[in-house]
Symmetry: C2
Subunit: 327 residues, 2 copies
Amino acid sequence: MDAPNGSQDPEKTLDSQVKAFFDSAPPLQNMNDIFQKLNHFIQLNSLSSENGIGRRIVCVTSGGTTAPLEQRCVRYVDNFSSGHRGATSTEYFLKAGYAVIFLYRRGSFQPFCRSLPDDPLLECFEATERLNIQVREAYSKAVKTAIMDHHAPVTSGLLLKLPFSTIFEYLQMLQIISKPMKDIGPRAMFYLAAAVSDFYVPWKDMVEHKIQSGSHILDVKLVQVPKMLSVLRKDWAPLAFCISFKLETDSNILLNKARGALEKYNMHAVVANELSTRKEQVVVVTIDDKITVQRDKSKADDDVKNPLIKLLSQRHSAYIEDSKRTR
Amino acid sequence: MDAPNGSQDPEKTLDSQVKAFFDSAPPLQNMNDIFQKLNHFIQLNSLSSENGIGRRIVCVTSGGTTAPLEQRCVRYVDNFSSGHRGATSTEYFLKAGYAVIFLYRRGSFQPFCRSLPDDPLLECFEATERLNIQVREAYSKAVKTAIMDHHAPVTSGLLLKLPFSTIFEYLQMLQIISKPMKDIGPRAMFYLAAAVSDFYVPWKDMVEHKIQSGSHILDVKLVQVPKMLSVLRKDWAPLAFCISFKLETDSNILLNKARGALEKYNMHAVVANELSTRKEQVVVVTIDDKITVQRDKSKADDDVKNPLIKLLSQRHSAYIEDSKRTR
């Protein structure tokens, strides 16, 4: 893993990095359960017809992954992400007719909850005189809407929610999800909004017990997480429509970095966003163009994800049509 | 800060470390608001009489602190802590007659919610036929209890909740809280259950923008967070009854580390717990004895924090009596 960059066949290097990552990862505990839920979900939505070809299915990833520094994890490096983008995008994908696999960080923002306070159960309800509870007047509409909008797609099998915490869980689950997604070809989309760790400590290199705080300086050495986007595109689900994100705090380097990611990982589009303005506008970078997408400021509750998902849904439809012609 | 250990007057070194930490910290945004809430809370509970001397007040800290790696924070080192201990202890302190300042990590576990699922609003409720919502039968009792038990102390001014995220916010808020707590002398208790970062990157040493992932290895150097427990005991609130925690994954070193912390930081008690058994038993280490506290296994819903807080409350009462005699 410590070989200097550029001195070896890059593909071979990536393959060995990927192998090292998965060999190092602690196995998922509930793999069979995830498999069953997934297969059921994808079968169900492949039967339900949309133009006779089954429904389009998107895997939305959301929230940040953690990289543990100790095997019995006390300390970890985390990537900041509320999960707001993934959760809100999920709402718009459902509205656009997709079935959604929502792969989210435990405890991160959930779809249909954006009008609720941080701690909704304790904030939104009150006890009544007859020792019962009721929704507080001020939250009445928001709570009703959140619960009904959330339950409808879950009950009708259009929304499957799968949680992760560590980078190990995240990438193993992404690989598992890509298996049945591969089978539905271009109808599948990956919308990779999660803030994935760039660096990790390989499981075997970790100390088992808590790092002691006796020394004055803690020196943590992390190695790069292999670029799984390439592997997803090349091997895991080569026909799926793939969208990734580029977040930077420095707008000067943003578009170049997005363009770089598009080419390097062979994405169908990269959504470029700057930390401070990302709720107002993003730029969708494709091989042919750069499209600036802005939220409709005349509507107080409009979100930039609304026009973004409309655009991506159109592009995805065109991609499916193209795939039919070239088959 | 890089001076070798042991070569200088330890007290002088600590003072300069503390100064460096607070000089480095970005200022709290809502300081005045916190001040007002705190003063009101402590005044209110000093008037309400318990043996004519005002109510005992405990500051319970809960959840893990983060240490940002970048100023516009994308990555940070986090300490794992659900906040379960602090939240549950808060319940038992209220039951024991204390007023509680609950200083908690944003998004961590809240008092009175232990019987609820992770995502209570979405899990516990369902839509009814008349387009309204109701509590699902299975959660009916748990939801009612959580909301009523939570609202009662908040409404009657016995529970003040203050959130933090970073190590900078946490230590600044602890300092602010200690000011009015100092004024109530031995009636104050600090129950320091938060998992506080041992290491941090000084604000001025941080890069402003996101760390780029081009290099193959990320080398993060963190310096030790000054031991504020000493400062709390010595300067901030010298008469307050102080309890800290020692969590280790290795039971072989646990009791020695707890004893070490007791002496080093001049605590009144250190609660020693091992990661794997901490829900069943803990050991309370004081200068005179080591008391093993176990949960009552004959009661399914008993928690080790129940007998723990009973014991600490007794010790605190004895400490207050002692203080009167020696005054």
